[in-house]
Symmetry: C2
Subunit: 431 residues, 2 copies
């Protein structure tokens, strides 16, 4: 306890240090590159109506909601997405409005095959059976008794950007890249449960099956299960939302979103995969030779410029303004190690800065400070790399391997054209 | 580019590795300590109504809401808290339901001095003036042009637990410790703005003033401003909520919540503090000698057991069940380095495990696996330490310095009594 300080020490030292340090601070030399202080059109301070009346009581929303002024920050859908069935469809995340590496639960993208089920947590059961020594049926309370872990990971639909193999369909970041979102997940590693139940040596595959009307089923190699597969009940500090599989979903960090089965009811272990409906009719990647890639799981290294974007133009910038170009990078196979930014559609690149937390299989923010030249025309594109050794391909490189018939696993670099007026358009650069 | 792999490499190697690794997996020996698999009252799988009908379409809630079954996971208030004025009051976070280190925005504790203001972001202005070379008035759009940063920090009201200097008032974790919450904040360091505006050498203090009807004003030493003070507009990936100061609040990581002025309208730099109403009538700590500590800012090292707690009893545990004791630790002065757990009210301690991300001035999760003995009576208490060298005091140690007349900065260890039936009560252990 020698190096520990008491509460009294703290109080005294806080006050002493405080006066000492503030007295010395005046000599600090500041100043540097001008960012904004040269504004030639200063805004005016004025009397504001909200300062002249009582605000709402704390009892108004005991579960809070966004400001009414944020009504445009919502998930969106369109007939061009998914199946055309308005229940079995997708609502995409407004990633142009995103900050940091957490997506609020209310904005987390949603995709289902039979609509959003509403599960009664008291009736909920999870069965784990097949090639395990001790099969079990768990209530939610029993499941939560296993030692929990919390990890930050993105979930991405493998169809993210999949409408655009032949060229841009959406002049929108939300629709072009919003089939993904990121959260802090809480649950239990399946390997922890398997230590308890005992996995039989001949087990090679796990079937995960949902309890909604689509009974979504996917086969998962046991290797992934024993690596980092989780059963999760918590998302950003509260229970999963209904659209995310309340009360329990599977999470396979970095792998296709459809594998992260929602409203999870059953895990079965076996020696062969199941070839269920959703892993034969869908979620396979058709190649130019007519064959399809079937066992294709991890979302590959990817990135996008978030600001500017079609939704966040530069039309209000003045000549010489300094502006932050910001983006996201992510890889289902590891940690982002580098992001490059190009102003000419991918001919030349500069190195961007990674910002904030850089975590495995997680969104990573990056940025680059740019001095805007009024009238300049740019072709902005980003390219990311991960610690598994992969680099995001050009569209040409990707199409040369995959053709344009696939829907899934598009991760070629995307380009925003910044026009002379500062508008931003989604374009495709081919050689 | 030599060490980079192409998309084609990836596809091939993924498939090759996949088959190779899954073929080898069968030999992995599993098994270990039994956690749950010995359940003697297995739950039964049954037909569930939600699997037999269509779910909701994705368009139902384009900004999502929690499951209706989670209606009890809300902020709460009581007349015993704060001023008795239902507008200028506090609603506390249900931290017994918390997971990880993110609090959803809808559950982030709320305290205001004149109710929740509703600010029009188009009319919003921030003035920065006084001892700066280039005073400025910024619109929200202009403010957001500064290079942004994202950091995860808790905010805690210094009155957290302040009703209980004389002993427990609340048999509830939410009311005893819920005057705090944690989020991922996005904004700009004030030092970045000051590099642009130029701070004059004689500046020692910054006044932060809110634009709500209470015009909350607090003086902040310039030392803290130049260290890590932020102006924030983003909380957990979206705009601040109205209760948190939408569109802009001050964030002083680790310092009292009331200093993190909401609906921020003005920062003024001067050579002396202001001694504003809320830093003389309130937020000072009265000591036994009748004098009060005035410049007392950082929330000191603290911790609590979250599970079990009065809201999360052990009444359903059976003899021999293994259960995770989980808690939170936090310090406004640095990073948590250690948490100890006692089963006898603080006489003997064992070391708990820190879980997940351990970040400075941030909530830190900890846990300890315990084998429950039916009928055991426990006095559970936790004690945390930080890298600034502080250790959480006992109640006796704290009261010997501070007496019991203060409201603020209580961080003495708290005790939960686990009864023979598994009920959990808030008690106070004094020598």
């Amino acid at each position: 306890m020698d190096n520990k300080k008491s509460k009294k020490d703290l109080e005294l030292s806080q006050r002493r240090e405080f006066f000492k340090k503030t007295a010395a601070l005046g000599v600090t030399a500041l100043g540097g590159t001008t960012l904004l202080a040269s504004q030639d059109d200063p805004a005016i301070m004025h009397h504001v109506p909200w300062g002249q009346k009582w605000g709402d009581p704390v009892t108004k929303n005991l579960y809070g909601i966004p400001s009414a002024y944020e009504h445009n920050n919502i998930r969106r859908t369109t007939k061009l997405l998914a199946s055309g069935n308005y229940r079995a469809s997708i609502a995409v995340t407004p990633i142009h409005e995103s900050e940091g590496i957490i997506t609020p639960n209310g904005l987390f993208f949603s995709r289902s095959h039979g609509g959003t089920a509403h599960v009664d947590p008291n009736e909920y059961r999870l069965m784990i059976h097949g090639l395990v020594k001790k099969p079990i049926v768990l209530t939610l309370k029993q499941l939560k008794r296993y030692p929990s872990i919390t990890r930050t990971h993105f979930i991405e639909c493998p169809a993210n950007g999949g409408q655009e193999w032949r060229g841009p369909q959406f002049n929108s970041l939300q629709f072009a890249k919003g089939f993904m979102a990121s959260a802090e997940w809480t649950g239990v590693y399946i390997k922890t449960i398997l230590e308890d139940l005992g996995l039989k040596p001949e087990a090679r595959w796990m079937l995960a099956e949902g309890s909604d009307n689509s009974e979504m089923g996917r086969s998962v190699p046991v290797e992934k299960v024993l690596d980092d597969a989780m059963i999760v009940w918590g998302q950003n500090g509260e229970a999963l939302r209904p659209e995310q599989g309340y009360p329990v979903r599977l999470l396979l960090p970095g792998w296709e979103g459809n594998l992260c089965v929602k409203w999870l009811k059953r895990l079965e272990f076996a020696s062969e995969p199941w070839y269920a409906k959703e892993e034969t009719s869908k979620y396979t990647a058709l190649k130019p030779d007519g064959k399809a890639i079937q066992h294709f799981y991890a979302n590959e290294v990817n990135s996008t410029v978030v600001s500017p974007s079609p939704e966040i133009p530069w039309t209000d910038l003045k000549d010489g303004d300094v502006v932050e170009i910001e983006g996201l990078a992510w890889s289902g196979m590891g940690t982002i190690t580098n992001v490059d930014l190009s102003f000419d559609g991918g001919k030349n690149y500069v190195k961007a800065n990674l910002k904030g937390l850089v975590l495995p299989k997680s969104w990573t923010r990056w940025s680059y400070m740019h001095r805007y030249k009024k009238g300049e025309v740019l072709l902005l594109t980003s390219r990311s790399m991960d610690d598994a050794g992969y680099i995001q391909p050009s569209i040409d490189e990707e199409v040369s391997v995959m053709g344009v018939e696939s829907v899934y696993h598009r991760n070629g670099i995307e380009t925003w054209e910044v026009t002379a007026k500062g508008e931003v358009n989604h374009v495709q650069i081919r050689s």
